[in-house]
């Protein structure tokens, strides 16, 4: 399916671009961490330990002031006590207000973000590409009907639409058994993780329009190629032509859009979690929201998941840039003719 020339372009672009390497590195690390979360996480991300709450990350310390009154020599005195809380290596990134290790929570949060990002993008791509290819291939009234409804979708602010849909459908989520725990490799970790079903469907339905627009544009241009006419002149059906000729030759921009959409959907999921519309509490956005109350005393509770979001979104976007530069013949150097 992937031609050798395309692979050659990818390799050449990868070698020449430091940003591409960085992007791939970040994505590989994030994906690896997410898949093997139970092995990387030092603690169960859900176990609370109030004795160890709000510990700072390694390298930082924090002080708590406590004021008490005591009888000293028959008079009341106010005593200001300053306690220094030192970081401990047991919790390298500190703990949140309930004493849960931030490192473990960030590692498990990567799972939620990536799952929602990937599954949501796949759903959006399947819906959007189908609609877009059909609209672009048939043109005319079909095109008008489909794309005007897409425009209506686009007119809604996506976050508001997502919140409305979550509100409408509830926050359905499935508990999926964790294969690493089931296999007995990491028995001390939670036996399942939450797949936020509604959120995935919602982010998919909010973002399909982008795929529809790109796919329609590609279909409009590819359908004019002689090989489409040639296929029709030997009797191929419309659906056959769409699948066999239009789709493969529209694949490159759709693929590039897909990577960028993963990042956008991760951001959208974080925003939804931040606002409390997520099906799981193990999410970067949710932790940021929780840490907001402690920003003055324990900045890391919000900052650590925030950095995780920033890093993964940057990484995915760099990956998308690499794909675009390597696959799009119009941008920089010599590229493939779209043989994805």
């Amino acid at each position: 399916m992937i031609s050798p020339r395309t692979l050659g372009n990818l390799r050449r672009e990868f070698r020449s671009s430091a940003l591409a390497k960085l992007g791939v590195l970040i994505v590989v690390v994030v994906v690896g961490v997410a898949v093997l979360a139970p092995m990387f996480a030092p603690h169960d991300p859900t176990t609370q330990n109030l004795d160890r709450s709000q510990l700072p990350p390694v390298g930082f310390s924090t002080t708590t002031n406590s004021t008490s009154t005591e009888m000293v020599n028959g008079s009341l005195e106010v005593i200001n006590e300053t306690n220094e809380i030192n970081a401990t290596l047991t919790y390298p990134l500190g703990t949140d207000s309930l004493g849960r290790g931030m490192l473990s929570r960030v590692i498990y949060g990567a799972r939620t973000s990536l799952l929602v990002g990937l599954l949501g993008t796949i759903l959006a791509a399947v819906v959007g590409v189908s609609v877009g290819l059909v609209a672009g291939y048939y043109r005319g009234r079909v095109d008008d009907t489909l794309m005007r409804s897409a425009d209506v979708m686009l007119a809604f602010p996506s976050l508001v639409l997502a919140i409305a849909l979550v509100g409408l459908w509830g926050r359905a989520a499935w508990r999926v058994p964790d294969p690493l725990v089931v296999a007995g490799i990491t028995p001390e970790m939670p036996a399942s993780f939450v797949l936020p079903g509604t959120v995935i469907v919602v982010v998919g339905l909010v973002n399909w329009v982008w795929f529809a627009r790109v796919a329609r544009g590609e279909a409009l241009s590819v359908r004019e190629q002689s090989y489409v006419k040639a296929a029709r002149s030997v009797g191929a059906s419309n659906s056959f032509i769409i699948r066999r000729h239009i789709l493969p030759n529209s694949a490159t921009p759709i693929l590039v859009l897909g990577t960028i959409q993963v990042a956008a959907i991760i951001l959208l999921e974080s925003a939804l979690s931040f606002l409390g519309f997520s099906g799981t509490t193990l999410s970067w956005g949710f932790d940021i929201a929780r840490g907001r109350d402690y920003l003055a005393s324990s900045w890391w509770i919000s900052t650590v998941p925030g950095i995780a979001i920033v890093l993964s979104v940057i990484g995915i976007n760099l990956l998308g840039d690499w794909l675009r530069d390597a696959l799009d013949p119009g941008i920089g150097g010599e590229g493939g003719s779209g043989g994805a």
């Binding site: 009797g235 191929a236 493969p248």
Partner: protein, 418 residues
């Protein structure tokens, strides 16, 4: 728009039947294709009629924009919005199909002939491949760059194979290529829509069109082929359905001269071997002279002059045909300057056409009667099927009746075009 075309609506059958004893395989009658654009209605093909006999090569020649390609696409029913075939009949001789259609669509059947314009869309599609097939102008863009040439050829064959297994059912052609199958095919490279027989036949076809090392070449992508090789592969794809009528739409325009000759030889050989009919569309009179038995000269969406090769080349009546012939360089006598036809093909917008000869504005022999009424197509000297749409067929050119102001008009037009 057909009200004043009475002259061309004569005798659908029988005309010109004396060149071959058999009945024509294809009778095109009053075919009109219009494009409905923002600028207005464009009559790209206007009431065109012609016959194609078994095993002959019929040439259609004309300038760019004269409606040659649209005629071809109209026959295959491949005209796309904003264009539409608005009128006409395309009678195709096929006794089996006629029997099939006689009960369900009696209006579309006449003897052994079926009017492909009046059968359902699905049947019309099923005719593409086994009945009509087409070779396109630019071989480089006629192959999907993401599929190997052999695979693409095999797919065309597979479409035909499935069609034959279940004739004239539209669904059968791509049966087994539903969404589920599509997904598994994409994920499992070992599975494929095409069968091993189709692959073999694809290699065989590549052999037949003279591609060396066909087995290896079949596994290559179109960008690894040269233009000439791709055009051969294109011919192979058009042959996949063993068509009765092969339409070659400027098959050599995008190729260099030596390759042109090879492709033309190949087409001539194949036409002989397969005993099919070919409609050769070109702007190159050399190609017509070399390949065709009969020829129609198209101008502004109409056939201006038609006849056997000798009729058109040796005894042209229509000044447009004369002009085309005069604009061919003569290698033996390069001294005289070529005589181009002044001006350009009219825009064909319906509202600007009027009831007159469309060529009158550019015609060196235009007379007053040319703009008074549109000339009908009439028999003229030469063979029985030498017919021409020109007043000169019936009277000599008379300079005293020359269209007043023609020279000035033409000069003004020429400067406006520049």
């Amino acid at each position: 728009m057909l009200e004043d075309r009475a002259g061309s609506e004569d005798a659908p059958d029988g005309s010109g039947a004396d060149t071959t004893t058999a009945d024509p395989i294809l009778e095109v009658r009053n075919l009109s294709t219009q494009f409905f654009t923002a600028e207005g209605q464009v009559n790209a093909v206007e009431s065109v009629s012609f016959d194609v006999y078994d095993g002959e090569i019929f040439g259609i020649v004309g300038e760019s924009g004269s409606g040659k390609s649209v005629t071809a696409l109209s026959i295959l029913d491949l005209v796309e919005s904003p264009g539409r075939v608005t009128a006409g009949e395309i009678w195709y001789r096929n006794p089996d199909l006629a029997d099939d259609m006689r009960d369900s669509h009696p209006e579309a059947v006449e003897g052994e002939y079926v009017d492909t314009r009046r059968v359902p869309t699905g049947v019309r599609r099923s005719l593409r491949g086994p009945t009509f097939s087409m070779i396109f102008q630019d071989p480089m863009s006629s192959f999907n760059p993401s599929i190997t040439v052999g695979e693409q050829l095999a797919e065309a064959i597979e479409v035909q194979r499935r069609a034959r297994a279940n004739p004239r059912s539209t669904r059968s052609r791509t049966q087994g290529y539903g969404l589920g199958r599509f997904l598994t095919d994409s994920l499992l490279p070992s599975r494929s829509y095409v069968s091993a027989e189709s692959r073999e036949r694809a290699t065989g076809l590549l052999d037949q069109v003279g591609i060396p090392d066909s087995a290896e070449r079949a596994a290559e992508y179109p960008n690894q082929f040269s233009g000439g090789m791709l055009q051969r592969a294109m011919v192979a794809q058009a042959l996949a359905g063993e068509p009765d009528v092969l339409i070659a739409d400027e098959p050599t325009t995008a190729l260099d001269v030596t390759i042109q000759a090879q492709i033309l030889d190949l087409l001539a050989d194949l036409q002989d071997e397969e005993d099919m009919s070919v409609i050769m569309i070109t702007h190159d009179l050399g190609v017509i002279a070399r390949m065709c038995d009969r020829v129609g000269v198209m101008y502004a969406g109409e056939i201006a002059e038609r006849g056997s090769l000798t009729d058109v080349f040796d005894r042209p009546v229509h000044p447009y045909t004369e002009g085309l012939l005069e604009s061919i360089p003569d290698p033996d006598d390069p001294a005289p300057r070529l005589q181009p036809i002044e001006g350009n093909v009219p825009s064909l917008i319906d509202s600007e056409m009027g009831n007159r000869c469309y060529f009158a504005d550019r015609c060196p022999k235009a007379m007053d009667e040319c703009v008074a009424e549109k000339p009908a197509e009439v028999d003229t000297a030469g063979s029985a099927e030498h017919r021409v749409r020109c007043v000169l067929a019936e009277r000599e050119y008379d300079p005293t009746r020359a269209l007043s102001g023609t020279e000035e008009d033409r000069e003004r037009e020429a400067s406006a075009d520049d």
